[in-house]
Amino acid sequence: MSAFLKLLARNRLALGGLIVMGIVVLLAILTPVLPLADPDVTNTADRFQPPFSGAGLLGTDHLGRDLLSRLMWGTRLSLAVGFAAALLAATIGAAIGIVAGFYGGRTDNIIMRGVDMLMAFPYILLALAIVAALGPGLMNALIAVAAVNIPFFARNIRGITVGIAHKEFVDAAKLSGMSNARIILTEILPNVIPVIVIAMSTTIGWMILETAGLSFLGLGSQPPQADLGSMLGEARSALISNPHTSVVPGLMILVIVMAINLLGDGVRDALDPRLKSGALNRPLPATLVAKDRKPAPEHAPGILTMSGLETQFHVKDRVYRAVGGVDLAVKPGEALGIIGESGSGKSVTALSVMGLVASPPGLITNGSVRYEGTDLVGAPYETLRSMRGRAVAYIFQDPLATLHPLYKVGDQLIEAIAAHRRIGRDEGRKKAVELLEAVRIPNAKSRVDNYPHEMSGGMRQRVGIAMALANDPEVIIADEPTTALDVTVQAQILSLLDDLRRDRGLAIIFITHDFGVVGQLCDRVAVMYAGRIVEEGPTRAVLDAPQHPYTARLIACVPELGQGKRRLEAIPGLPPVVDKLPEGCAFADRCDRVHADCRRGHIPLDGSGGRKVRCLYPVNLREAAE
């Protein structure tokens, strides 16, 4: 709760709304005790007095009544009615929505049919019909406004409830012996309430407008009682001769509704967890580069080299050092594997190459990425764009999420080509079919017109590979391309990639967490831990005789097929979080060979003959053999 208030207070606009709203509500509450004239006493002799004229601060209306006093009483009434309508609609609507969403099936069907029926009316028709039936009056207007808003709440809350009712913790609650009523009250409701509050806070303003509207039409509050809407309605006939009687209540409505909307947005932002994590930020076309970045010299030959690459995520006041100084190089025709667990920085390293790290919050703070000698970090957007897909292409993990769901796969392939050179419709289609054939998709001619959802996971990933090949790039970066796939499909995709590399002389950077995959596909491997490379070398050498204790123990963790039932070697503890990395070796706390000097200073990546390790006490050959 206090965290919520803190977040709300941080939002200056919402704070402004809160203050204005606080003042208006306070004045409305105090109205009966303030020294105001009676709002309903008419004095036709003093009609239409302008503001500040002596007859009341805001002048008088067409019957000579004190405008200030009427404004205060009207505000009081409008606020009360608006809040009451919102509360009523939210409570009933949410109850209906939760029941429909949780029980599903027939209950849901019947309720939602009814809701759809009500939503088939433009809402004011329903409100007008209700007022027509019940007769004009403020109470009836309140009922009408609440009633027409119930379906909106019901539908919204139902959607949220369906999502929550299918979560695993609801299943777990059932297995814990909870009844449905208890599940609704203790499992569903606490998760739905923030949504109800958001929906309410963003609709109160609307409700106030609506009740004011009905009163404006003469269907709400009846004379002499007046809310802001009916004040405006009564003033309309004198709009041209005495505009101030219209402007006063109109501006009041505007101020109230605007303050509520500002506050409502603030509440929504404070309650929405995605905003806290910055997940609703728009990623920029290219990753930001820190102004004080220092380019690093090329440390090794290669078509693509990363030198001293550092990428960070700045979330609020925390700095996550996702990539903490990576040196890597890949030669034409070579397959380089980068292996690591989640959070090791392997994907961020790969995405940093072409500036595809989501930014904000991503930021490249140091180092260089060179393609044939040109530094891509900090290069102008157009340079970077023209290299993307043409020089260095990507294959991503989940092919269902990475292909555009609304375009045919053929069109997506043609677009990849058209991004770099002019290509006609027919030629593009021919090329697309060729690409699909190159990745061994059967019936390429008809598959080219498929949408991604019409294909299986394996076929979609082939399309992803075809797209990467579209412009004959020199380097392909594959970021866990088989992780979402079944093992039999994975085998097909891996052998396809291997063939393509040999046929076309492609350099491949392959990101994975699977030693088996690295062992089969890659010439060289780099092991990452907590944002740094801890070991690098020829794949067989590293896998057969790991030198870094982390590599050695990680390999030992993974069961290998064909060894039967057995106990596994676990690594105790967890990897460090990259916003508070310890000094020295990041693995020290989990390492059984740790010495005092492992926790001091910078430990370099040392070695010779292509074999490098970042460890003061590496595992030697004899130990590895044991």
Partner: protein, 322 residues
């Protein structure tokens, strides 16, 4: 020895709703009638690729999904009540995604107390003692009890999920991909914990996974599922070493193994059969290098090949060591 869990002819068909004026279409058969026994203290591994029906099977076993046909017996007594609370005391479930199986708005203590209060009617003092005992068993610190799920890593959350399953005091645990959301270094910790618990508390496990090596490492026996049916069943050390069903062999050959050359074990590009329009014979026939006419007409039963406890649903099973 009595079977801790016996399922007989258990199957699930999902009805397909026709339109407002359309006729109901024939359903999708997610699990074909299946008969299995798990002995007390045994770990039965179930392995299969996505869409093979392994999660549907698991949800039926714990009562979260009513089966279309068949019966479930625990210690010889039939569970015919579809109430998960009745199931809860006999058989429990450990979920794949440890974080989403914990209600984000409840403390760990509230989550742990639910089964103790509702299934066993314990009072507050008993509950506190029992929770302390369970937490000690799964080596979790008691200070975690006042925290909320989002404060935990995947491995810790999965320990909490296991602790909750233990609280129900069920003798049988269904472990549905319990480590597939975890990193390998943490995965080994959780697998070892599960092995310790089983030895100490005499539990029976049904371990579901898509990872062949993990299943092999933890199971006594393994059942291979393909397209909703068991195609091979045998001792863990035999199934992948000497597969009898061609599909099992394909799985074993596809698993990436360091040092083995990269070749696609299947020459052709193949896909799973369409569940809305299943083939008349063996579901694997279209992908099978050994398929003959009979395979495309008749569905082989699991008893087609039997060698001791090793069974395979294949008319033309592979030879030992083939």
């Amino acid at each position: 020895m009595t079977a801790a869990l016996r399922v007989t002819d258990l199957s699930k068909t999902f009805e397909m709703k026709g339109g407002l004026f359309g006729k109901d279409k024939p359903g999708v058969r997610a699990v074909h009638p299946l008969t299995l026994e798990i002995q007390e203290g045994e770990t039965l591994g179930i392995v299969g690729e996505s869409g093979c029906g392994k999660s549907t099977l698991a949800r039926m076993l714990v009562g979260l999904l009513p089966p279309s046909t068949g019966t479930i017996e625990i210690d010889g007594a039939a569970l015919d009540n579809a109430d998960p609370a009745v199931f809860g005391k006999r058989i429990q479930y450990v979920f794949q995604d440890p974080i989403s199986s914990l209600n984000p708005r409840k403390t760990i203590r509230q989550i742990m107390e639910a089964p103790l209060k509702l299934l066993h009617g314990m009072d507050q003092k008993q509950r506190a003692e029992r929770i302390a005992e369970i937490f000690a068993t799964v080596s979790l610190r008691e200070e975690f009890l006042e925290r909320y799920p989002h404060e935990f890593s995947g491995g810790q959350a999965q320990r909490i999920g296991i602790a909750r399953a233990l609280a129900a005091e069920a003798r049988i645990l269904i472990l549905d991909e319990p480590v597939s959301a975890l990193d390998v270094s943490v995965q080994a910790q959780v697998l070892n914990l599960l092995a310790d618990l089983k030895a100490r508390l005499g539990l029976t496990y049904l371990f579901i996974s898509h990872d062949l090596a993990v299943v092999e490492a933890v199971s006594d026996r393994i059942a291979v599922l393909y397209f909703g049916a068991v195609v091979e069943l045998g001792r863990a050390e035999d199934v992948f070493r000497a597969p009898r069903h061609p599909y099992t062999k394909l799985l074993a050959d596809s698993a990436p193994v360091v040092g083995r050359d990269l070749t696609a074990p299947e020459g052709r590009e193949t896909e799973l059969p369409d569940p809305l329009n299943p083939p008349p014979g063996c579901a694997f026939a279209a992908r099978c290098p050994r398929a003959q006419a009979r395979c495309r007409e008749e569905v082989p039963g699991l008893g087609e090949f039997a060698d001791g406890g090793h069974m395979a649903a294949c008319f033309f099973p592979l030879e030992e060591g083939a």
